[in-house]
């Protein structure tokens, strides 16, 4: 799973967001706000980690079980895919 070409993460007015640029910017008008978990997932996917590896990272940071973390990762990844931000 990877991030589609053109999407960048940045801080806008103290909030973390995903901004579509270039080609992506022509079809998607607007930005997506990321909470801390989503931001961590984004960074992990950008680094090339798998869903499982990402879930592990979340466990390291937050006090939740691996199953819960994996479920969160999969949920957010699916939302990103639906939004056209992530591809397989």
């Amino acid at each position: 799973m990877k991030i589609k070409e053109g999407f960048v993460k940045r801080i806008v007015m103290d909030k973390t967001v995903i901004v579509p640029t270039g080609e992506a910017g022509k079809t998607i008008k607007g930005m997506i706000k990321l909470n801390n978990t989503a931001s961590l997932i984004w960074d992990s996917i950008e680094e090339g980690l798998t869903e499982e590896e990402t879930a592990k990272k979340i466990c390291e940071k937050y006090d939740i079980t691996e199953e819960k973390a994996l479920a969160d990762v999969q949920k957010i990844a699916q939302q990103m895919k639906d939004a056209g931000v992530f591809t397989e």
Binding site: V8, R10, V12, M13, D14, K15, V19, T21, G22, G25, K29, G30, M31
Partner: protein
């Protein structure tokens, strides 16, 4: 085809056109002097995407991003020399709204650009500029105004305007700003949008496309104080009000450029912008005729009563130049200096004359 120099957003650009017609289409922005900040060339490949004029706009816009300028799809009108941008997706009614502003406020309004003005954001100052690209209505003026407000509009039954949080304003503005191809330039553009919204208040308005709508939006956005603009931009440009400074400045005709007051000592004959303690919302622009013990005696060029003991703390700015008939005259201009001395030399006689006129008017009742 020989090239020409184009000046937009205070930037000189070298243009190498494909046809002779291009220069004519942008003639009011063509200059004969200046060193180009960058150059653009129109190639046959560019024409495959559309008209030469639009190709030029795209290339100029891309070059200007490096120079802290962005292209904002909005109808930008200046009222009393202060710019207000009305932004919305095409067809929503931006131009209609600014047309209403013109209807309500008459010749106080100048159309800076009805379609895509340039916005420069630098050192905390935000300026809007006219350009040769003004959409279908071709309403534009080759001028620069400070941007005081951005209003995102939507059609509705009621006229309601409210402040937008900078983040929400960012989301709106992003969709109406030219986004470049490259990642670096896009990041730059996003930075500029953020900087703009940190300085310029943004509003969201539903409007019913009647005159009342224009009054509502203007009254909401018009709240800035001169001090705020001076702090932000370092200088303030506005149209003269009143005739206390005749014949140097005529009401609603001449434009003054005031520099923010700094540590430079003020001297006799400087024209200062100050406020009176009993009238905190009124600004006075008069000439210093005496400096004593750190206080200033001032009088308008067309007045007879000298206002004494204006204090340092009341002064917010100093006149640095004024614009008459399109010509900017700085205060160190020799002819202006001669006028100043003549005017002051004639003060005793003029003051007597004005005093007589004043009392005669009072007697007549």
């Amino acid at each position: 085809m020989s090239g020409f120099l184009l000046k937009v957003a205070d930037t000189v650009i070298g243009v190498k056109p494909l046809t002779d017609e291009l220069e004519i289409m942008v003639w009011s922005y063509v200059v004969t002097e200046g060193t180009p900040s960058f150059d653009v060339e129109i190639t046959p490949a560019d024409l495959e995407k559309g008209a030469e004029l639009l190709a030029l706009q795209r290339k100029v816009t891309e070059g200007l991003i490096e120079r802290n300028v962005l292209l904002f799809h909005s109808s930008l009108a200046a009222v009393d020399g202060f710019g207000y941008a009305y932004a919305a997706p095409s067809g929503t009614g931006k131009s209609t709204h600014t047309a209403l502003l013109r209807k309500v406020y008459g010749d106080r309004v100048t159309m800076v650009n009805d379609d895509k003005p340039f916005i420069r954001v630098e050192d905390g100052a935000v300026y809007a500029y006219g350009s040769p690209w003004a959409g279908k209505t071709h309403l534009e003026t080759n001028t620069r105004v400070p941007l005081l407000g951005i209003c995102f509009i939507e059609q509705g039954t009621e006229n309601k305007i409210s402040r937008l949080e900078p983040f929400d304003a960012f989301v709106h503005m992003m969709t109406q700003v030219y986004m470049p191809e490259s990642k670096e330039k896009t990041e730059r553009t996003l930075d500029l949008i953020e900087k703009t919204l940190k300085t310029v208040p943004a509003y969201f308005m539903t409007c019913n496309m009647e005159e009342e709508a224009a009054k509502t939006s203007f009254k909401a956005m018009n709240r800035i104080r001169f001090e705020d603009i001076l702090n932000r931009d370092g200088e303030l440009t506005y149209k003269t009000v009143g005739n206390s400074m005749n014949p140097m400045l005529y009401e609603n005709k001449d434009v003054v450029v005031v520099r923010k007051k700094d540590d430079t000592p003020l001297k006799k004959f400087d024209v200062i912008l100050f406020k009176r303690p009993n009238a905190p919302n009124r600004y006075v622009l008069h000439r210093i005729v005496k400096v004593h013990d750190g206080k200033y005696d001032v009088v308008g060029d067309n007045q007879f009563r000298i206002e004494k003991n204006v204090e340092e703390g009341q002064i917010i700015g100093v006149l640095s130049s004024f614009i008459r008939d399109g010509r900017e005259i700085p205060v160190d201009d020799p002819e202006y200096q001669r006028y100043v001395k003549r005017q002051w030399a004639a003060f005793p006689v003029r003051s007597l004359w004005l005093r007589l006129k004043h009392y005669a008017k009072r007697l007549r009742g």
